[in-house]
């Protein structure tokens, strides 16, 4: 039975979970999506602790609201939508916190490429530094563009899937991705010299 379940598609698994309340089906889906969602939420929020919480919440919401899933939609887009909404909520909460905090100097902080001469030994590789800079730049991109860029260029989802997740028309998705990329390229102009 277990072997059979692992062979099932996402949509079949959720149907099994909906119809028979099979916890194993739920567990398999969690296994399949926990890491992609974690990666997406981390790139969106930039904080491992809070993104673990967001993914946990996503899975809890999936468990509690399994019946709200409709079979005509792809399971991946459904679960990504939940995660994206929760990540946006977390971002809003953070913004509210920064509005009321006294030490709000985020605007003064500028993106700078670190000097390799003063790096710690465990971060010494070029790619690590680059990845860190890209992540920082990504967090500087406007959230509306950031979301679609991550979904498209990091999570490798199709335009149609992104359109479903964000609820935007495909044309809008494409233009937003383009603007997001342009913003990111501008922020990383020291790395990507045209």
């Amino acid at each position: 039975m277990n072997r059979q379940l692992t062979e099932l598609t996402d949509e079949e698994l959720i149907k099994e979970f909906q119809d028979n309340n099979t916890l194993k089906a739920y567990e398999i889906l969690v296994k399949r999506y926990k890491d992609p969602l974690m990666n997406f939420v981390y790139r969106y929020l930039g904080d491992k602790d809070s993104c673990t919480d967001v993914v946990q919440e996503t899975m809890i919401k999936f468990y509690l609201n399994k019946d709200s899933y409709r079979s005509f939609a792809k399971f991946s887009t459904w679960i990504y939508t939940i995660a994206a909404n929760l990540a946006k909520n977390e971002l809003k909460r953070r913004k509210r916190r920064t509005i009321f905090s006294i030490d709000n100097n985020d605007d003064e902080k500028s993106l700078q490429i670190e000097d390799k001469m003063f790096l710690q030994p465990d971060r010494a590789t070029d790619s690590e530094i680059k990845n860190e800079i890209i992540q920082k730049a990504l967090l500087k991109v406007k959230p509306v563009y950031r979301e679609v860029v991550i979904l498209r260029d990091i999570q490798d989802l199709s335009y149609e899937e992104i359109s479903e997740i964000t609820g935007l028309p495909i044309g809008t998705v494409k233009s937003k991705i383009n603007r997001g990329r342009a913003q990111l390229q501008k922020l990383l102009k020291n790395i990507y010299k045209e």
Partner: protein, 220 residues
């Protein structure tokens, strides 16, 4: 359209490569265990502090009460600045006024009696016409007073000459402590002569009444 975005992908090819090659972030090892424990314990992290819904209806009842109280206060509270007839306050003027009103009533009675019995003593008519002229004179005097900047009502009522003092008309009419009541003035100024005339008129009317009675008796 498709080409446009494909061209853009070429433009950002380096960036896109780097984005795709970013290290994948994985969940912690105990992620599933924690999740399943939460589910088994039914610890779904419901909000301990439920969101307080702001509703305008919650404010309707208290605001309605406040508004009602304010309205009732203004409607029922006895107004301190109530405008009172200053002439009535002044006893001498009030007496004069009552006398004048009595006289006018008596005149009416007399006229009625005269018309009924076709008895028209000339003196009565003369007195009435005198009364009218006196009143006209008085009203013209009042007008003159109004034109002046200040008056002293006490002096004027006692029959003394009018003296111009640096007091406002309203302050003369009112006591001065109470708020100013602009536009109020003593309508009928009386003096001793006028009162005397009215008394004479009253006496003549009474005499006429007596004559009328005697004529009636004689006719009988």
């Amino acid at each position: 359209m498709k080409n446009f975005y494909n061209d853009n992908e070429k433009k950002y090819s380096n960036l896109l490569n780097d984005l795709k090659n970013l290290p994948k972030i994985n969940t912690p090892e105990n992620f599933e265990f924690n999740l399943m424990t939460r589910i088994q314990n039914k610890n779904f992290g419901d909000n301990k502090n439920p969101k307080i819904n702001f509703s305008i209806y919650k404010f309707l009842a208290p605001s309605a009460i406040v508004v009602t109280v304010i309205l009732l206060f203004f409607l029922l509270y006895p107004q301190k600045n109530e405008i009172q007839n200053q002439v009535i306050k002044h006893q001498s003027v009030a007496d004069t006024q009552s006398l004048v009103s009595n006289l006018s009533n008596d005149n009416k009675v007399g006229e009625q009696l005269i018309s009924k019995n076709e008895f028209k003593p000339k003196m009565i008519k003369k007195d009435i016409s005198n009364q009218n002229t006196v009143q006209e004179e008085k009203s013209s005097k009042i007008q003159e007073l109004l034109n002046q900047r200040s008056i002293s009502v006490d002096d004027y009522l006692s029959g003394a000459t009018v003296t111009n003092k640096a007091i406002q008309r309203s302050n003369v009419v009112k006591s001065g402590e109470e708020p100013i009541v602009d536009g109020f003035f003593v309508e009928k100024q009386t003096d001793k002569k006028t009162i005397e005339k009215y008394r004479n008129a009253l006496d003549s009317l009474r005499k006429a009444q007596l004559k009328l009675d005697s004529l009636k008796k004689a006719q009988k």
